[in-house]
Amino acid sequence: MAKRSIGLQGRENIYLDRPIWASAHEEPEGAVLSDVVAQAVDRPNTRKVTDLLMAVEEARGGPAWPSPMDFLRERASVIRRETLEDLPGYVSQLADAARSNGMIVHFASTPGEARQVITDIAKERGVELVVKSKSMVTEEIGLTKHLESMGIESVETDLGEYIVQLADERPSHVMVPAIHRSREDIARVFSQLSGGSVRSDIPELVAFARQRLRADFARADMGISGVNFAAADRGTLVIVTNEGNGRMVTSRPRVHVAVMTMEKVIPRFSDLAVLLPLLFYAASRQRLTAYQTFINGPRRPGEQEGPEEVHLVILDNGRSDISKGSYKEVLACIRCGACQSACPVYRRVGGGQAYLSTYGGPIGAVLTPLLKERPGPSELSFLSTLCGACEEVCPVKIPLTSLLIGLRADYEASKGPYSASGLAWKAWGELWSRSYGYSLSTTAVRLVAPLMEKARQLGFPLPGAAGRWVQGRSLPRFTTRAQAKHGSTAPFDSAPPVLGNFTSDTQDDSSVSREEHIDES
């Protein structure tokens, strides 16, 4: 009889109260994004999530980056772009350095290959129980579900991830996976799990998880972690946590498997002096998390602790193609979650589950459609007001708004050559790619509203809640000088009137100022 998890013991007694589309197990296929978003807005805990994330935003104290964080932000933006210039080169340097440190390196071009590699490692080494620390890439490849189908239990040990695993849900925030669950919800889940009565007192909930999961840390054969940064020059993997589970999974079991997507590579170990403080600041305004773990390889001769084997699995899933294209900056992301908390749509839909993707929020809306094997719907770029808040808080200055607009154009273009709003989005995208485009952020909601309304009439699968989001706001008239000049010569009958004004000649006139383009009166 295989070793079973203590942490998960009794989970069949948990009443699953989540909608089917929030499940970590059920395929969200067939779920329509607009319906899901509408339901998400009405879920009982959504208002609470909105308030919590709003409080995070208010604590942020405006878009300005204080010194010396502004300096780190500039440095980090350069480092990340330098990395993307030669992503395959740095990845291969990392692989060589990691190998000479004694790690076993595996490349996986698809999620399926990654799953196969990991399950082979597990089977060949007789692994029966796996402990995991938080890792988005393992969600992307559906690892836990796959291991379970092979009869290997895999326990999430980050408190938030543990809660969503028990409730069979996808995480709803990069940093706070169970943000959508109140302490009462969590107490209910733990009570059903244990068959006892767990009080909705936060220290008690934490103590419950600590006790349950310790037994698994002590007995597990394999630890699976993500990677926050991987230094190409030294072959060092960096894993950061606040709870200490990252240390547990990388040091207690006899096999450690670290899974990373290729863009986690950084050129130099010394870059950590920039990237780590910046990550912590952007993620939670902490100076440092409680733990940073630097892994150089397996236990050395003479050492009394540490795994006998360290495997590094590097997943591509379309990223090498992305790094060559016009969306490559999305790969600069260091997964801080700041764009999620800053996004009004994300907050209003109660977090990431409504995105039906591993990656929610602005960064998820950009990354998801670009991946080769998509972990979510391709029309996610419409779940945004294009207000630009995500860009302001981004620690590596990813131009998320422009990327979102480009993806909208791509999405509409994929609907066929006569897609009116596709061309309109393209035109708008060109406008935004100008320097003054960024300053349009405050008027974005006015711009997007009529488009959404029109597109809905045209039958595009637009998110219902996002549509509702803009309804009821006053929408000033919007004209351009070109309209005055040429009249409303919309290129297509079906084009939304407001966007029909963006003909190519106005877009090419880069000397036209913002005021001349947009009459807000």
């Binding site: 408190l159 600590r210 170990f269 010394s270 100076r287 150089n296």
Partner: protein
């Protein structure tokens, strides 16, 4: 946070380290001499089971613990207190740094309820930047990979979580109590 704003004076670095560690939820004490250090360890351990690194420098502590009847646990998961030397400490952040190696017992800083870090004052670095530079040079210097420490751990205060309603709570998987004893 510019490097020149850091105190050059060792006593000021020590004071800064203790202040920052306490801001992160830990505790720091200055020990005047070896005897004071051992007394402080014994006092913190009480009669609980202790996981202590086997190192020539910690032998006097082991001896005194045995004398006081404090037991070592048969299973390290049962230890209530862990005691270990650190390789570096960072004044500006209150960070403790432990490197894997022969005779090292990293579990002492992770598994028990309380971690007592023994910090030689000469190990104090001014800031995080300096730590990364120091570690980078160390890593570059190991000419054989088998000598490179398998892991390096940076610890800043107690284990903590904000996963329930974003309320900060101490002590999830790592020690909820962290003490640093500084000695010369």
């Amino acid at each position: 946070m510019s490097p020149d704003s850091f105190p050059q004076d060792q006593d000021e670095l020590v004071a800064m380290f203790i202040r920052e560690l306490e801001a992160a939820g830990g505790h720091g004490f200055i020990c005047d001499n070896q005897e004071d250090l051992i007394d402080r360890v014994l006092e913190l351990c009480g009669n609980r089971s202790v996981l202590l690194e086997e190192d020539p420098s910690t032998e006097p502590i082991r001896f005194r613990l045995l004398e006081a009847g404090v037991s070592a646990p048969s299973d390290m998961w049962d230890a209530e207190v862990g005691v270990a030397k650190v390789d570096f400490a960072v004044a500006a952040t209150g960070t403790l740094v432990l490197m894997a190696g022969a005779n090292r017992l990293l579990g002492a800083s992770l598994l028990p309820y309380m971690f007592i870090a023994l910090v030689d004052r000469s190990c104090l670095l001014a800031d995080f930047d300096g730590l990364i530079r120091t570690l980078d040079m160390r890593l570059a210097d190991f000419d054989t990979e088998s000598a490179k420490p398998s892991a390096i751990h940076l610890i800043t205060g107690p284990s903590r979580t904000g996963d329930v309603e974003m309320q900060l709570t101490m002590g999830v998987h790592g020690p909820p109590e962290v003490y640093a004893l500084l000695y010369e």
